[in-house]
Symmetry: C2
Amino acid sequence: MDKTLIFGHKSPDTDSICSALVYADLKKELGVNAHPARLGEVNKETQFALDYFGVEVPPLIKKVDDDVKNVILVDHNEFQQSVDNIQDVRISEVIDHHRVSNFETKEPLYFRSEPVGCTATILNKMHKESGVIVSKKNAGLLLSAIISDSLLLKSPTCTQVDIDAAHELAEIAGVDLETYGLEMLKAGADLSDKSAHDLITMDAKEFTMGDAKVQIAQVNAVDTNQIYASQAAIEKEMEQFISDKNLDLFLFVATDILNNDSDALALGSAKDNVEKAFDVTLDDNNRALLKGVVSRKKQIVTKLTETFLSKTFTK
Amino acid sequence: MDKTLIFGHKSPDTDSICSALVYADLKKELGVNAHPARLGEVNKETQFALDYFGVEVPPLIKKVDDDVKNVILVDHNEFQQSVDNIQDVRISEVIDHHRVSNFETKEPLYFRSEPVGCTATILNKMHKESGVIVSKKNAGLLLSAIISDSLLLKSPTCTQVDIDAAHELAEIAGVDLETYGLEMLKAGADLSDKSAHDLITMDAKEFTMGDAKVQIAQVNAVDTNQIYASQAAIEKEMEQFISDKNLDLFLFVATDILNNDSDALALGSAKDNVEKAFDVTLDDNNRALLKGVVSRKKQIVTKLTETFLSKTFTK
């Protein structure tokens, strides 16, 4: 039977891994020969969730092989965040909750993006629509994705639909939402063994904003000062990326999961856009505190894109 | 209350007009201050449907005014097919059944595209999902859109979901599907009062294929010879478009609604791509018969895009 591959974005987070796993199971139930995959290393937070619910890591792929008939993208649509040979494959579906950009197909497809906090929330809905019961382990995976994307339901991206889904899934998974959630986030925020290179690549996404190439990396931490103890090494790695990928801006965002602020470090020729976007001044260390900012998608990408675009057009 | 404007593509067809009208009604039922609009003249087929079910033509707009908070695109997503100031407005939703291309937002949105034959089929489903009963007149409009896009359920774009929706809607609308459908298509195929300019603009869409700019216009006819009686005038108008819009290819497709073939006329520097895409030879009049071709989307755009792309990449 024709093979369908399902994967999330590069530098996968918990939503990208768990949504690929769960959607592959749902598709299999519906008679599709679907297989989950991942485009990068699994982070500690995700590993905690997989271990907790006894699920294997999906296979790592570098490119989509020729025996794959269709691919399904979850948790992303922008081609630069996807597999390297995305231009050569047939995309049959997209299930996502991000802005739509740099995405194109030759043929009609099933494209479902909803302005909710997490892909897993949409998948929870899709189980109901197709009359398939979410298993205990899959409920645990979907719940983990929602907790991750919403920072335990605290991010401004989190909607009532996400909150309702999280409570529903916690019950099926048989865990206490708060206790499990904080334990999972803390597992992810343990950065003690991470190199500077790890920190800036473990959850990094590239964006096109106007004519500019922008990379935004984010880490969750319990103590952001601990991260910046190695700021010199982090900057060196960032500078390397800027030159290798020809970036106009590299923004590194360390988010404090306990008080929900972010300590950001900006490098690149367009770093003044960070000051304009957030009305802050970068200090001598190129850093600024972004009060109450926890969501890359809703609080960072939107504002930065506006700032970059306002240079080109006047609205 | 914040105003939401709903419209289909330029050179609107029956799906673009009827889906805007019906979705505005559905949104109003759901508490949204939604208004339908259109980006161009209503064709005879659509007018027949509106008159039959006693519905007013939606207002014509040239641009989205400043008092509009959100726009919803139906039956299209490619910006070049949309309103001229589409880059300046907030798109909150897209309901569509075409390929995704040249579409971009700053923020997450509700984007729903399904590989079915008609936007109206998705709207029929959305009524069920939200528990709103389709009124008799709206059933008539949705049915008309499906008949139009599927050439009375004969196009290869037509899926079982469209067929089921059409039968269901015909019953609510109180019409006989075949009788009403043929009457509506014939009303649209009456081209006796059309100028050459009308013929090439009444259902025209622009596409980007690789690096090329391609315009494809389609008319339905009972007798395609009657259309080409004025071929010289049609070519003159097409040449004008090619030079004004800097097109690489202008393909004019006259589709015979009774025997389901198309008689195509190709002009522009890239017209040899038509020969390659369909394995035909353009005659001295730049025309070729495309046997069994009735669907611009599924049978023309896909093949032509592949031909244009195969020049640039090798797969």
